[in-house]
Symmetry: C2
Subunit: 316 residues, 2 copies
Amino acid sequence: MTLDDILEEINKADKIAILTHENPDGDAMGSSLAMYHALKNYGKNPDIIIPVHSKVFNCLPGIENIKTESDIEHYDLAISLDCAAINMLNGFANYFENAKVKVCIDHHGTNTMFGDYNYVNPDAPACSEILLVIFEYFGIEVTKDIGTCILTGIITDTGGFKYQGVTAETFEFVAWLLNKGVNVSKVYRQVLQIKTKPNFELHRIANNRMEFLENGKIAYTYITQEDEKNVNAENGDYEGIVENGRDIEGVEVSIFIRQTEKGWKISLRSNDYVNVADACLVFGGGGHPRAAGCTIPGTMEQAKDMIIKEINRLLK
Amino acid sequence: MTLDDILEEINKADKIAILTHENPDGDAMGSSLAMYHALKNYGKNPDIIIPVHSKVFNCLPGIENIKTESDIEHYDLAISLDCAAINMLNGFANYFENAKVKVCIDHHGTNTMFGDYNYVNPDAPACSEILLVIFEYFGIEVTKDIGTCILTGIITDTGGFKYQGVTAETFEFVAWLLNKGVNVSKVYRQVLQIKTKPNFELHRIANNRMEFLENGKIAYTYITQEDEKNVNAENGDYEGIVENGRDIEGVEVSIFIRQTEKGWKISLRSNDYVNVADACLVFGGGGHPRAAGCTIPGTMEQAKDMIIKEINRLLK
């Protein structure tokens, strides 16, 4: 059983690194911090290494323990959370690759199984929800802090309990958290609901540019680096834009393109039947059937045409 | 005990009318339909009278049984749901006033107790959640259809499980519904998430007009009847606009003004401490501490100034 192996490696390890994907969202942050608290409570002293994250998550318990880098080259054990492929490890793939033992815990169906031990459950609505099972198996108590971090992952990756895949267990867990004294509304508000002013302004710009293509089945919009500069955007201030298109009646696929230094970052969401992870795999990306991403170089028009061509093959 | 009296009146009544407030939201629709199904299953044959409602709710079980009017003048029993004052009863206050026995079931703290029997719980996050307690007391089983209607009220009145006041019982109920086979994500998507195109366009217009006042503590915006006409808006297409301002960092009170035939309909939302129901009571309106409304005649600028003056008295 993989979990027995993972627990054995945790028991043996002295130096442990906790890693997650670049541009960490709420599930990446929540899963990493939940693992950090759990290992601390288990008697270990792990490093949690995340170079940059949105200030939205400054409310999370333990956030002050995050390191932006580490001078340890060879960890005994590296645990990657919520990350589908090694090249998405926050630019810190070296800590993972150089570790004696590599563990990958994730919920992406496109996970490339890049660890020595891989515990991947694509049915889990959030990576953090998998940790509930793992901690119980390990006999590690889910404290209020751990619960708050896990809740953050669930809230953000389910769009606030609304996506398919949310289970009865999810809601039972939230009820249990409430009884434990966690202010679910407050966490929800902090990690998902409140928009920064630059975030509001980027939404406004993107919504004003929204185009409906293919008889309204595709919603398309974009923002440039100049837009982000103009509104003083920080990391994460573009969050949520891609959902605006998805939630309009008749739309099957929402496309949001964002200019980055590496090229055009494409975010896709679908509603009923288009597997957007398939469309992204063509360009070396991936994700979930209804939420995926990739990066395409060239001009914005080229990137737009290329991704729409892929999506059109999947549209009914 | 009020509930014993209400059950006795239900047992005695032959002709029963179910009524709710004008511009019915998800809690009004869900509570009314849940009561309709419950009374049918209890062996009664009630009329549910709602003159006009958003097509968003056409997905609700039993929606085809709604009457837009009735030729019965004197009901044995009228039950008002989710309605704080008799003048808000959908223009059908006469059915209530002419009924032999009047029952008021509600969760608004500003309820005027206008029934012969009033069962009002301001702590309930939705009127429909109160019905869970009532049906259990009455010995009426909560079927999948009743559960779906109750869920609709909870989802819409809690903004999708996110407001303060959502209890552990709420989440336990949702878990129970999921186990009963209710597709919570589908209901959520239908009643809260999907925007019609006119709704998206009204949001875009309102967001482009948004002003931040009092050092960003107030967000203000509006739409006119002409805007609604221009985008072919239907009843309910302005829903959600007031929440946009509330969710921006630093904002305590969000004001959304909408032109109606009766005057300027003011919708208010607050975050932490301003009791917006107090601000609305001055103008004959009411609601909840964090969500309330009223109507002010005159010009838009007059209405804007009057409501901001009231809010300023409550701002820190």
